[in-house]
Amino acid sequence: MNITLETAKELGLLEEEFEKIKEILGRIPNFTELSIFSVMWSEHCSYKNSITLLKTLPREGERLLVEAGEENAGLVDIGDGLACAFKIESHNHPSAVEPYQGAATGVGGIHRDIFTMGARPIAALNSLRFGNPELKRTKWLVKGVVKGIGDYGNCFGVPTVGGEAYFYDCYNQNILVNAMSVGIVKVGETVSAIAEGAGNPVFIVGSATGKDGIHGATFASADLTEDSEEDLPAVQVGDPFQEKLLLEASLEAIKTGAIVGMQDMGAAGITCSTSEMSAKGKAGMRINLDKVPTRQADMKPFEILLSESQERMLIVCKKGREADLEAVFEKWDLECEIIGEVTDTERLHFYQNGELVADVPAEPLVLGGGAPIYKREISEPTYLSRINSFSISSIVEPSDLLATAKQLISSPNIASKRWIYEQYDSMVRTNTMTTNQPSDAAIVRVKGTEKALVVTTDCNSSFVYADPYKGAMIAVSEAARNIVCSGGEPVAITNCLNFGNPYNPEVYWQFENVIKGMGDACRKFSTPVTGGNVSFYNQTVLENTAEPVYPTPTIGMLGLLEDHSKRMTLHFRESGDLIYMLGEHRNNISSSEYLRHVHGVQHSPVPYFDIEEEYGLQQTIKELISSDMIHSAHDISEGGLFVALLESAMAGGTGFAIRLDSEIRKDALLFGEAQSRVIVSIPVNEESEFLRTLELSNQNYQKLGTVTDEQLSVAGNDFGIIADWKAVYDNVLGGVLEAV
């Protein structure tokens, strides 16, 4: 086969990249080699358009045990000789084409990133974005994704403890599926993704290699178009049972002490794992592709190299210890084959039936090595001026607040996500403390210690669209607020950056500003970035116009609760308790679900936000929780004050009676989404001490009213009983999705 620039372009490479490859090799690559470069230099594997900006994020902290991007996931010291490995990753394009397998393998992939480091996954979260739920296609996508996540995670045996789901039209074709895994490992017992020691054998373990997922990384690195469904074979197929066996076998194999390095096979399969492990250890590998167990006969070298078949690991074993490794995989009835050895050539030599089919240097293939790095053009999006021209005075204040409130909770963005989360096993492993007593973040106890992990995923992408800088700060702040309201201390984040095409200057402007905002907020909360993933090209091309999705930088935050008896819950505990709001009422309805759902105004500025105020609020909450003064804490987010009150009341099976003493518009008071506000309930006898604490910490607050048995009353108006609200709130989403 004659390799030309055209061949390179067909594989997604640029002309300058093709030139660079020829320079590196000193010759024209053959097709197998070109395929290797094309996947390794794809956006997905190389971060070529994002890495420069990602490096501006704060990536250092006392607790961090590995540097961002250094291993498969972030690793944080949580004390007691334990560390937490955690990471979030996207599986957007596969899920948009084949929602069930796309989402399932997204879950499988992220868990593998955790246990390849030697950590046992103990919790999963996800962050989902869909289009208009009334659309037939959206219903199909939601059902497929939820079943995919459920079937994989439930069988794998790791509880799905938290997550979020939003429905905006910009995701109609290009949904987002971000999955997060959180694991625990003893400090010092982790395994690195490294190849060292010439002569050490290289094993492939787990499932056999098939033709699924070939060019998956390249598929993820191009615009999603109407023709994308033709790329269906680029979607992988998952087998959670194999993954469960692989998990147990891998952790057992680590204990034998026979393992030098291990890496899971995700994007770009054998190519990526061999090159990254070799580059990391400044080593090389000689691999015999004919030794790789395959599902089909006669697979071509590039197919074996690029296959993204799931549930596989590459292991470098200490020479002479092969039998120990083989015994473990034999016990778990898994394939375990020596496919080559480590060399000191710093090159990858792939053979098939004795013939050298590819000879490439490892270092130039990988991120941080020779992979290309670009910074793209930016230009401030023109839509911003339209957004910023919005004025609250253009919105007529509704006269019937009760009817408005009812309308608002029927929005799928507000209503309970029960239809989704009841399909996930949230309790297996018996550590989930938030099943029976929910908090703003999920709380997962760490057995054998007094500690719990407090975890959450957050991003309101409509805020980020309206103001990428502030929107990203809000995403980080909300995550931290959720953790603080649960009694935890924010520790670190992982991020999943979902954007449109980076070659679109407006998209790149969004990206740059999001990174700035995220960095500033992470510095403020001392939550360094431990890693994550970038997913560009999330947009839909319809009739030749490309509409990027809202910039969606999902934050997965890890928090720590040193003493799990100090956790805080969100439910109103006792009738008669006093309800206070920390923070201030703002005359602001910008970017609220109320504005979108009730008034049909899709775009408006970002809501009120001040990071210093936010920081102060979180310190106050910590103080209140540590001194056992409050009965509940719940932050005000989508749906505003009213929905926050409703959620605390539904969780506690109580009602509430509140006054609205303010000059501010009633709709802004009840439904506005100004940031940095938290609702707390306190026993009456704590009031004076509580108020003294607030004054000492200069915390703004409003007294709202009291917790009642079941009746709701707002500014003297009868708002009915809690059971009736719950009946609607619980069933809206299922009703919409199940409707034919």
Partner: protein, 234 residues
Amino acid sequence: MKFGVVIFPGSNCDSDMLHVIGQVMGQKVIELWHKETELPDFEPGDCIVLPGGFSYGDYLRCGAIASHSPIMKSVVEFAHNGGYVFGICNGFQILCESGLLPGALLRNTSQKFICKNIHLRAATQNSPLTRNIDVTKALKIPIAHAEGRYYADAETLKNLEENDQVLFRYCNEKGEATPEANPNGSLDNIAGICNKTRNVFGMMPHPERASEMLLGNMDGRVLFESLLATESLV
């Protein structure tokens, strides 16, 4: 009473069971690998637990392959000799597949996996597992399954009733076994049963997930307490 928890490939509630029996209830408990062919450390009066999960991926049919696992021969023999065997969720499915319990567990009527708290009520105190349970009280215990719809033919069902083999029924908070309180379409709201000789128990709900204060639900603990009380009676 000594406990053994069988680990099949794909079991995933094994460590939960080990934790609750060992740490929470303070009992002696050992792991049993599915490839073992004998149970030398166990005698009648001890209890073998088949935990929840997805044994063998639940491919073919839930519990079908596991019921042919090497260890199951010994478990069946152990049961026939009067030993206690307790299967939860996938363990219940395996017991039905292996013939130790009558009936079968079919796909939920909703066709979906369901994980949530439900209520159930003990239908009899005449079993080691329910001995200490107040039969008028609704217990809140979670379920987590896609195939939990208990089914048996009319005659089997009649025998179950006549022999007082139904241990638990799904009910509402008030303890009423209504159709609305039935989460998966089980016949007669059946959530758990025992064999004729009352030493083999199977149930879909997970009492081990409701046995610790820290998790906010202690309703499942009474099942383990009942089992242990049995020992002192023997």
